[in-house]
Subunit: 234 residues, 2 copies
DNA sequence: CGACGTTGTATCTTCATAGATATATCGCCG
DNA sequence: CGGCGATATATCTATGAAGATACAACGTCG
């Protein structure tokens, strides 16, 4: 059975939380210049829609300029605030979409030293410096494939010169070239693999081939651990 | 007014989508060994809870072993499948949490050449290679601060040797040291700043100081653009 | 000055979700 | 063999979100 990662994007601003439906509403108002037409196009009742606009404005401040009477009977336009809300929502959604799309590599391990939110986790592939939740001991470290940097081992900068704190040596096991991006699977230990996403250009620049030795790096701030003895008590 | 990024985590598996409430339910069942006690602890009705378990199992397959009668009257334990579901949910949530926590830097620009999902975007700080949605022209490129790599300019590897396709030169404007992680603000152009998160260790290793010249890099697969002429029509 | 197409409200209905309650079933154990 | 504490299930009710409907208010324009 396949499990798909899903999410729903929200922005908490003041007292209200704005979801996709609200953004679609604002977008429709913007495109049609009136709340009535927006309601019609979205197939929802004008009353509720207008109500929601007021509700949001009560918490956020003016997001519309509403005019009644006048030529055409009036209309509603969005304020700059509303447009910025939409953009911010779009950016947030793009980031979340990235999370849901991208594959992750998982390494079980045990927490060793901790400093603040960071800790070293002992895993099958060695020590990983990662963000570790408070009080966790047995954890899984996850690394997003779009955060993994590949380097030619001969040219690899020593970890001293960059902020890439995790660096491992591995062997390219598989290449899945796409139109612009190649998925790379790197074997790091007996049973451990790490996936990376790189541009096709980088792939050919590095001369990637199956069987090749390669250096993989990722930032500590991009490696996140979750505790295995999960406790979801609210 | 402050806008906070929120989200809600979900896993779509088969016909049902599992949310945090479901995971909390499974966790409570696991801890108490019975659905009745779980319902009581969660303050929800046994009937609905039991119903939900059946609902999930209809779609996902066995996630519990339920026994009635016997010593103690019976009880319910979770299957391995259920535990894996919880872990996967935890990992997914950790990633989303990362998105909501981390700051992002935004660069408006216009799309130039495109190959598949990738395109170069002309911005105030120069060309950025990023993931760009289909058909977009005017965009905002966002870069997560945990994806930015800092390098000593003298030692910076040429872009030829790594899969870090975006590389810029800048000046450190601000340092916000935390317990384990330092937030770094780098000025890249007249009006453009990029934020990065690095470990304190990396910060001191690089000898970071305000005013210092520094090289920032990030992967094309970690830079995401959203269209400015947003169209949220469903 | 009246028509028109808006915005602004108020009220009723519909629907889905979940709690409340009651009852049946099960199977070990004293 | 009855009690206990669980699972299993059906029915009623409470609640909240949203649609349906109706009507008042507004202001430009013909």
């Amino acid at each position: 059975m396949t499990i798909e990662k899903e999410y729903s994007t929200k922005l908490a601003v003041g007292e209200v939380t704005i979801d996709r439906r609200d953004i679609e509403m604002l977008d429709a108002i913007d495109r049609h210049g009136s709340m009535h037409k927006a309601a019609e196009q979205l197939g929802r009742s004008y009353a509720r829609l207008q109500n929601r606009v007021v509700e949001i404005e009560d918490a956020v401040g003016p997001i519309t300029e509403r005019q009644r009477g006048g030529s055409g009977g009036g209309g509603t336009t969005l304020t700059q605030t509303a447009h910025e809300l939409c953009h911010q929502f779009g950016r947030h959604e793009a980031e979340l979409d990235g999370v849901a799309r991208v594959t992750e590599s998982v390494f079980p391990g045990t927490v060793q030293d901790r400093t603040g939110e960071l800790a070293t986790v002992e895993t099958a592939i060695g020590s990983i410096l990662a963000l570790v939740p408070d009080g966790a001991h047995e954890v899984q470290v996850t690394v997003r494939s779009d955060a993994v940097v590949l380097t030619d081992p001969d040219e690899a900068p020593s970890a001293d010169e960059t902020s890439l704190r995790n660096q491992f040596r591995g062997t390219v096991m598989a290449l899945e070239p796409g139109e612009a991006i190649t998925g790379v699977t790197v074997r790091l230990g007996a049973d451990s693999e790490l996936q990376a996403l790189i541009t096709n250009a980088s792939s050919s620049r590095l001369g990637l081939e199956v069987g090749q030795s390669i250096t993989v790096s990722f930032k500590a701030t991009a490696a996140r651990a979750i505790r295995l003895e999960s406790d979801y008590s609210a």
